[in-house]
């Protein structure tokens, strides 16, 4: 990697500003994102968490330029996504942003070798005049997958396929790597290898890495996590500590266990103190005689 590292990418920062997204449906539009505010620093590695249908994958597809936000603004590095044409979005995916889909089969040519898959993935960047700073073999070796280089994808195990799929995601030297559920069908050993790979990509290649995951192990391994709940940023975790996030409109998403205690419609007393506020349900407090 010494020969390639000189031209390795720097990461892109991400800014979501009140992003709303609707899916049109004959039965009525489905709201996927209800005003997401999110800032990610360049070169940061973080995970998007949240229950199924919360909007994580929508965030990912908006970042990849596969869809356009219904409202709000998305800024990725110097690019304001809403202002880019379809051609520019294509170019962006070829050169700057890469998305690794959940199923490895959807990221790879099953009949091709790992090397050929990397080369295939680089074709987009090459077609846009960008020469990736590494050859397929160099990349695979750098990411610890040298022994897999000549093997046909269809003969690889699930974990190996996932790792090759992630490698193909960074084949074109993207500055933002988006990974959807990278460990969903893997055993623990493969999962750890994938997490390690993501760390190496972030640290060695300098790309900003955004992973969408359900996997607590992945979440725990990430320096920063953002939890999406019901189409909003519900919480954020940093170095193992969970935080609620105050929205632009002053709203706060309560964690699910808190929400069980304080179901919607509950009247709360807000008491302010130096470090913040206390939310109390007066009906649950013992009455002073």
């Amino acid at each position: 990697m010494t020969t390639t590292s000189q031209s390795a990418p720097t990461g892109l920062d991400i800014h979501f500003d009140g992003v709303v997204h609707l899916y049109p449906s004959p039965e009525g539009d489905v709201v996927a994102l209800r005003g997401v505010d999110l800032d990610v620093e360049a070169g940061e590695e973080f995970a998007l968490l949240g229950p199924s249908g919360s909007g994580k994958s929508t965030v990912l597809s908006l970042l990849a330029g596969l869809q356009r936000a219904s409202a709000g603004q998305i800024q990725i590095g110097p690019y304001e996504m809403g202002k880019l044409s379809n051609r520019q979005l294509l170019r962006l995916r070829a050169t700057e942003v890469s998305l690794v889909l959940q199923d490895p089969a959807r990221n790879l040519l099953p009949y091709a070798t790992a090397t050929q898959n990397i080369e295939f993935a680089q074709r987009g960047a090459r077609g846009r005049g960008k020469t990736p700073p590494w050859s397929p073999l160099e990349l695979l070796q750098e990411l610890g997958m040298g022994p897999l280089a000549g093997r046909t994808v269809a003969t690889l195990s699930g974990g190996e396929q996932q790792r090759v799929a992630i490698a193909s995601g960074v084949a074109g030297a993207p500055r933002l790597l988006l990974v959807d559920e990278p460990t969903s069908q893997l055993d623990t050993i493969s999962r750890d290898q994938v997490i390690e790979l993501l760390h190496r990509i972030n640290s060695q290649l300098g790309s900003t890495v955004v992973s969408v995951t359900h996997d607590p192990a992945v979440a725990a391994a990430m320096p920063r996590t953002v939890t999406i709940r019901d189409g909003r940023v519900g919480a954020e975790g940093r170095r193992g500590q969970e935080y609620a996030v105050v929205g632009r409109d002053g709203s706060v998403q309560l964690p699910p266990d808190v929400l069980e205690m304080l179901p919607p419609g509950t009247l709360l007393q807000v008491r302010r103190h130096r470090a913040g506020v206390d939310l109390r349900n007066p009906e649950l407090e013992p009455h002073d005689q």
């Binding site: 089969a105 009949y111 080369e119 074709r123 987009g124």
Partner: protein, 1059 residues
């Protein structure tokens, strides 16, 4: 390890790229090829299927023009082979021209040189100059004959000498034995020959006796020069002598050239193998230039029938071309449609790769490459492979189907293949459009494409409307009314099939839904599964369309081919007249009817026939009693039963008066004593048709016995044609004579005994006056029955009055063809073989007559011959043999003295017709339809396989929950058959309906010149065999595809894996 960089954005436009060192895309064709190879191997089944279908499209497109070229050549050769060497060749005869220098012989030599100069020998054999001098020669008997003195280069090597040798020295000749006998000469005799256009006689010495050659042999160039023309005089004209004819006198060139009447004839036989349609333009140009030169410079016009033959070949080729183009177009379109369907099906397998390319930001052309490279690669391979296969197939088929024809890759073949390739590209692009245009987000979210049921309904409606409009147009334009041949009729079955199939596709889901209801409580799991799968995916039923169209075309093609084959056989049998026809020469002293009667006493196997093809006669005379057993008389040529016709034609004649002996005598009383005295002659004809007379000389008043010598051939029997009193007035004397003659005691000298032959002499009504100046009555003379003639002869009459025996009918019973235009069908005037007019009673009409075709008269042979008052001329004698005639009958006929010169069977005619343009067009249709059917079955099975393959997971689950393999196999098989079976059923129905509608208008059926009316017969066996073959093929393919699907439904399928 590189430290993390701080944010350092360069604000650059995304359009110009983020990298300053923009480089051109690195092209790695080898890697690309490796990847393509891997992809093709990964999807080998689909790749092979694509290659096969694309190849079929290219083969079909190339085969059309390739076949046409080859078949045109075959038709041309067939036409050339069926014509005489003279008709095919070139004959150049220098004409008298005061302005053209050189004798005939010298100019003929210059013609040969010119032929070389104009390149004629590329297509014609080396020309030769035949010298022919018309001569007259008198036999020792005093009879004068006409003949030809001929010098033909190569004659010494061709003639077969019975004795003597070939004439090489001057004034030597070789003649046939029969000519020598007629002359009363022998080997070594000297005969004086006189040039017909005047000049002194030339004595020639007979140095060789030759056997009769076959004038039809190519050496004799059609025999028109009268090489072997022995026989009575044939009319009188400038070119034809009134004298009886002898066979030619073969002599050396020097002798012939010395005759002032000599004509030099240049003959150029054609090299059939060298004439091809591909060189037609060069050929016509060269022959045209040659003909212009000889005509203008040498006053030697070229005569050839080649133009007519080429025109005939061209007409056949045009008909064939129209059918082949129509058929080929349908096959190519079907192949392209199948290709489109196949690409659409197999594109699904590449959908994820296309999505991946879009995900990785590939340029549009790169996305297209990912989506289309495999099918386009297969298309590219299919172009040369298809061309090669088409060429090889034609080369393989050429000796079997089109012997002698040339198989060449003309530019049109290449263009057709390229057009099919272009069509394939379009079909590929159109078939893959969904995966290329689908939005990536939809693909990633696995959103099913919007329902296209409305689009499908619109497509179906459009197809149905187009098909119905096409059928309507064909009907309104009169293409299908059967009155006129139109190759466009071949479109009808395809259109009917499309209409039926589209309706079927729409109706079958309804039927299947009903079946679902019926099978709701059925314990048969396999049936239930199969029916439900069909109902669940009604779009799979669309395969019915292709299969139905292909089956319909196959059905139509087989029905048409078989019916055309039957009609060709019928036609060949009818055109010939019998299973075997012998053209015979009847030597002098031999009677055709008697010879046949003796060779076949049973009357079951042979029939004597005489016919004339002179347009004014068109007379076919047969032994009526044998007609039913021997002749081919197909149903449909007459509404009247053959038995009725035979009964009508059967003669009821009085016995003829025949003199068999050397002299005849009669007691004759002459009253009236005209001056000068009248002469009395019997006009006779011997059994060989040669005329003769028995002349009693001038008659004296009163009763006397007169004796007349009979011609020598009357020892074999001579028919009395007429009894003719001849009175020639003297100059200055009376110009009219009225007198009576009474004849009795008519006797013929047989050996040394006078035998009474006058049984019919005094028979009342036996004699019939001719010319109006004579009246015959029965009387008696000296107690003996006698014939009295009251004669009123006028010198002004150019024809002497005569009486003819009652054996000569004045009215014949006959049958006439409808096309003859007889205004009064009850009585038609015809010319007998002797050229005399007769009245024909014709209560019955037929469509056509054997050998004569649409115009002709059929009479009884015996009656026609009896009606003759002069020897027949320009007739053909034949013996027709029944199909089951014993092998020895020809030997028996020869033993009776008949000389067989030609043997014909319908097989030759059938073979010729089989090589005709229309038959070849049908053959192409048959192969094309077969290919289409196989293609459609393959495509349909493959399509259903691809559909069910997607259910491999579902099948694996069913296996996991304990559904037995055989049940799943039966279910899959049932599903295949539920989809494909109706396609075949609908196709068969549409094909037969199309055949009913279209076949009467297809040229093979509508063009029936000269033949019996065609019959639209459905020959069941070939259709059933074709269907059985299709069912077997379909069944086998369905079993294989079902088994393959079941193999995919393994336990592994239940785990997530790359597919």
């Amino acid at each position: 390890m590189r430290p993390r960089h701080p944010i350092r954005y360069r604000r650059v436009s995304i359009d110009r790229g983020v990298s300053a060192d923009t480089e051109k895309e690195e092209i790695r064709p080898l890697n690309q090829l490796r990847l393509l190879t891997r992809a093709l191997r990964w999807r080998a089944g689909a790749a092979v299927a694509l290659l096969l279908v694309a190849t079929v499209a290219v083969v079909a497109a190339a085969a059309g023009p390739l076949y046409l070229d080859t078949a045109n050549d075959s038709v041309l050769h067939s036409v050339l082979l069926s014509n005489s060497v003279q008709a095919n060749g070139i004959t150049v005869i220098p004409q008298f021209s005061p302005t053209t220098p050189g004798s005939f012989v010298e100019r003929a030599a210059l013609v040969l040189q010119a032929a070389r100069r104009y390149g004629i020998y590329r297509w014609y054999d080396q020309g030769k100059t035949v010298l022919d001098a018309g001569v007259a020669v008198t036999a020792r008997s005093g009879i004068a004959y006409a003949s030809d003195l001929i010098s033909d280069p190569g004659q010494c090597g061709t003639l077969r000498f019975i004795s003597g040798s070939c004439p090489t020295a001057p004034d030597q000749v070789a003649v046939t034995a029969r000519s020598l006998a007629a002359l009363g000469a022998h080997l070594g005799s000297t005969v004086a020959v006189v040039p017909v256009h005047g000049g002194p006689s030339v004595p020639v010495k007979v140095v060789g006796i030759v056997s009769l050659g076959n004038p039809a042999a190519s050496f004799w160039f059609g025999g028109e020069s009268g090489y072997f023309d022995f026989g009575p005089a044939i009319g009188c004209s400038i070119t034809q002598s009134c004298l009886p004819h002898l066979d030619a006198f073969f002599t050396g060139a020097a002798t012939a050239a010395g005759f002032p009447s000599v004509q030099a004839i240049d003959e150029f036989p054609i090299k059939i193998g060298a004439v091809h349609t591909t060189v037609a333009a060069t050929f016509n140009s060269a022959v045209g230039a040659f003909a212009r030169y000889t005509n203008q410079a040498l006053a030697a016009p070229v005569s050839t029938d080649l133009g007519k033959e080429l025109s005939q070949a061209s007409q056949e080729s045009n008909l064939m071309q129209a059918i082949v183009v129509v058929v080929d177009l349908q096959l190519v379109l079907l192949a392209l449609f199948v290709l489109f369907g196949l690409v659409a099906r197999t594109a699904e397998a590449r959908e994820k790769e296309v999505a991946l390319a879009k995900l990785r930001g590939f340029r549009t052309r790169s996305v297209l490459a990912v989506g289309l490279l495999e099918p386009v690669a297969m298309l590219c391979v299919s172009l040369p492979v298809g061309l090669l296969l088409a060429f090889l197939a034609m080369r393989v088929a050429q000796p079997l189907l089109l012997p002698g024809a040339l198989v060449t890759l003309q530019p049109l073949v290449l263009w057709a293949a390229v057009a099919a390739f272009a069509g394939g590209l379009f079909a590929t692009l159109f078939g893959a459009r969904r995966i290329l245009t689908r939005r990536l987000s939809e693909e990633l979210r696995a959103v099913e494409p919007k329902s296209s049921s409305t689009a499908r309904a619109a497509l179906d409606a459009a197809a149905l409307a187009l098909a119905l409009a096409g059928i309507l147009e064909l009907l309104l334009a009169g293409v299908l009314n059967g009155s006129q041949a139109n190759p466009l009729a071949a479109f009808a079955p395809g259109l009917v099939a499309v209409a039926v199939a589209v309706l079927g596709v729409r109706l079958l889901p309804v039927v299947a839904a009903l079946v679902v209801r019926w099978t709701k409580d059925s314990p048969r799991l396999a049936t239930g599964l199969a029916v439900r799968q069909v109902v669940r995916r009604p779009t799979s039923l669309r395969q019915i369309t292709v299969l139905a169209v292909a089956t319909a075309l196959a059905c139509f093609a087989v029905a048409g081919w078989a019916a055309a084959g039957v009609n060709r056989t019928t036609r060949a049998d009818f055109v010939l007249g019998a299973a075997r026809v012998l053209t015979v020469q009847v030597p002098s002293g031999v009677n055709l009817e008697s010879a046949v009667d003796r060779a076949d006493p049973s009357g079951h196997y042979a029939m004597a026939v005489m016919l004339s093809k002179i347009p004014s006669q068109n007379l076919l005379a047969v032994q009526v009693s044998r007609l039913r057993r021997v002749a081919y008389w197909p149903a449909g040529i007459s509404s009247t039963r053959l038995a009725t016709i035979v009964h009508w034609l059967t003669p009821h004649l009085q016995a003829p008066l025949i003199f068999i002996g050397s002299a005849v005598r009669a007691t004759i009383t002459e009253n009236g004593s005209p001056t000068p005295p009248p002469d009395l002659v019997f006009n006779l004809v011997d059994s060989g048709g040669s005329p003769g007379v028995a002349d009693f000389g001038f008659l004296k008043p009163g009763t006397h016995v007169y004796t007349a010598t009979l011609p020598g051939t009357c020892l074999g029997g001579c028919h009395v044609l007429q009894l003719e009193p001849i009175w020639n007035p003297s100059s200055g004397g009376p110009q009219e004579a009225v007198y009576n003659l009474t004849l009795s005691q008519l006797q013929v000298l047989r050996g040394s005994v006078w035998k009474e032959v006058g049984g019919q002499l005094a028979k009342p009504g036996y004699w019939r006056g001719q010319g109006g100046g004579i009246k015959a009555t029965a009387s008696s003379q000296g107690g003996s029955p006698a014939l009295s003639l009251a004669i009123d002869d006028q010198a002004a009459d150019s024809v002497s009055p005569a009486v003819a025996p009652g054996a000569l009918p004045s009215t014949l019973h006959g049958v006439v063809t409808r096309a003859n235009g007889v205004s009064d069908p009850a009585a038609a005037g015809i010319e007998n073989f002797d050229g005399n007019s007769l009245t024909l009673d014709v209560p019955y009409q037929v469509v056509a007559l054997p050998q004569l075709g649409y115009e002709g008269f059929l009479v009884d042979l015996k009656t026609a011959l009896r009606a003759e008052t002069a020897p027949p001329s320009d007739t053909v004698s034949q013996v027709w043999l029944a199909p089951h005639a014993p092998a020895g009958i020809e030997r028996s006929l020869r033993a009776q003295g008949l000389r067989v010169t030609k043997v014909q069977t319908p097989a030759a005619d059938i073979q010729s017709m089989n090589r005709g343009g229309l038959a070849l067009a049908y053959l192409f249709f048959l192969f094309a339809a077969g290919a289409a059917a196989v293609l459609a079955i393959g495509a349909a099975v493959f399509s259903v396989f691809m559909t069910s393959r997607r259910r491999a997971f579902e099948l694996a689950v069913l296996r996991a929950i304990g559904v037995p393999n055989h049940t799943l196999l039966r279910s899959l098989l049932g599903e295949q058959l539920l989809v494909l079976g109706p396609g075949m059923v609908l196709g068969v129905g549409a094909g037969l309906l199309g055949a009913l509608m279209a076949l009467p208008s297809v040229p093979e059926f509508a063009s029936t010149s000269g033949g019996p009316p065609v019959q639209l017969v459905f020959v069941a066996l070939p259709i059933v065999m074709m269907l059985a073959a299709l069912v077997v093929l379909l069944g086998a393919a369905a079993v294989l595809a079902s088994a393959a699907t079941l193999r995919l439904a393994s336990w592994d399928r239940l785990r997530t894996e790359i597919t």
